[in-house]
Symmetry: C2
Subunit: 193 residues, 2 copies
């Protein structure tokens, strides 16, 4: 049970839309004091369809002045910049911060496997990351979210998701990281309804 | 009197730190539904020490899907990217949206005049923009703010400043625009205490 009065900070991570052919995509971290006070922002770049997302996130968060204040890292799905899959267990182990990967649409493992095996020689390594952690359903006032997490009890993950959600189903740290990353890449972004 | 329940949206504008010699600086617009729900973000670039800031803001806001929902444009001071002075009367006239320029430190007109006349051949044109509107004091729970505005009664400006402030003295639209612009330029940014 996480008391609401505590100053709980959640870092939401999302990537920007990118152009194929460009080498990297922008990744934004939005540090939110729950429920929705934006306290800090960080950025990095990851290789499109590369496998450096875990490393780049460890670097970005390690050098942050907020490093020791982050109660939870919340990522939008488990891939950044195309199929640059994160290893969220490794992220947790290296930073000592719980990590929750959250998605609005239930991942289709067969479709993912087919896409990976078609496009990547190292597809088995990537698919292993997709399968590494079980997926659980998180109820919201709207459609449920699907999530994989490491470092907290499931009950605590659910509480942090609910406490950081203001409107709709998407927690503020992810919604704000998305808004920033999208606007920087495209010139303007807006909240999803 | 602006009813609190109305969905009032304020666009905060701030620029990023920049390197001298680089041609432009990033300018970010953060659209906030008061008190502090971030609804959208827009961006543009303005020339360092140029005089295109008014034009670039008109373009950015005109093409925005939020254009008709903005109750107030709030700018951080009256210069972007060095001495790229905004003409906030012109901004108001061209967009039909009230504009309030807000600063935490009372501008020192003599220092400003000396700096402009030293560095710019067209310093009189720039200094005219500095002097164009009277400066008024806005009380906050902390140090007062100094502001120049066009398009609303002063009482309404004060209400919008107070209704969009959550912590400290800086209204959320400006605080969030600053956080985003600074993080994009430097890699990380954090809220001012």
């Amino acid at each position: 049970m996480i008391p609401m009065k505590q100053q709980v900070r959640v870092l939401g991570i999302d990537d920007s839309p990118f152009k194929f052919g460009k080498g990297t995509a922008l990744v934004v971290g939005a540090l939110v004091r729950i429920p929705n006070y934006l306290e800090g922002i960080m950025r990095t770049e990851v290789t499109i369809d590369g496998l450096d997302s875990t490393e780049k996130l460890v670097e970005m968060i390690s050098r942050s002045r907020y490093r020791d204040q982050i109660r939870l890292i919340m990522t939008d799905g488990i891939a950044l910049a195309g199929f640059n899959l994160m290893d969220i267990s490794s992220l947790h182990a290296r930073l000592g911060i719980p990590v929750l990967s959250v998605t609005r649409d239930k991942p289709d493992l067969d479709t993912m496997k087919a896409a990976l095996s078609k496009h990547f020689e190292d597809w088995e390594r990537r698919y292993a990351l997709v399968q590494k952690l079980p997926l659980r359903r998180i109820p919201t006032g709207h459609k449920p979210l699907f999530a994989s997490g490491v470092g907290l009890d499931w009950k605590e993950f659910e509480e942090l998701v609910q406490q950081s959600t203001v409107r709709g189903a998407v927690p503020e740290p992810l919604r704000v990281a998305h808004l920033i990353a999208a606007a920087m890449a495209t010139g303007e972004s807006y909240g999803r309804p």
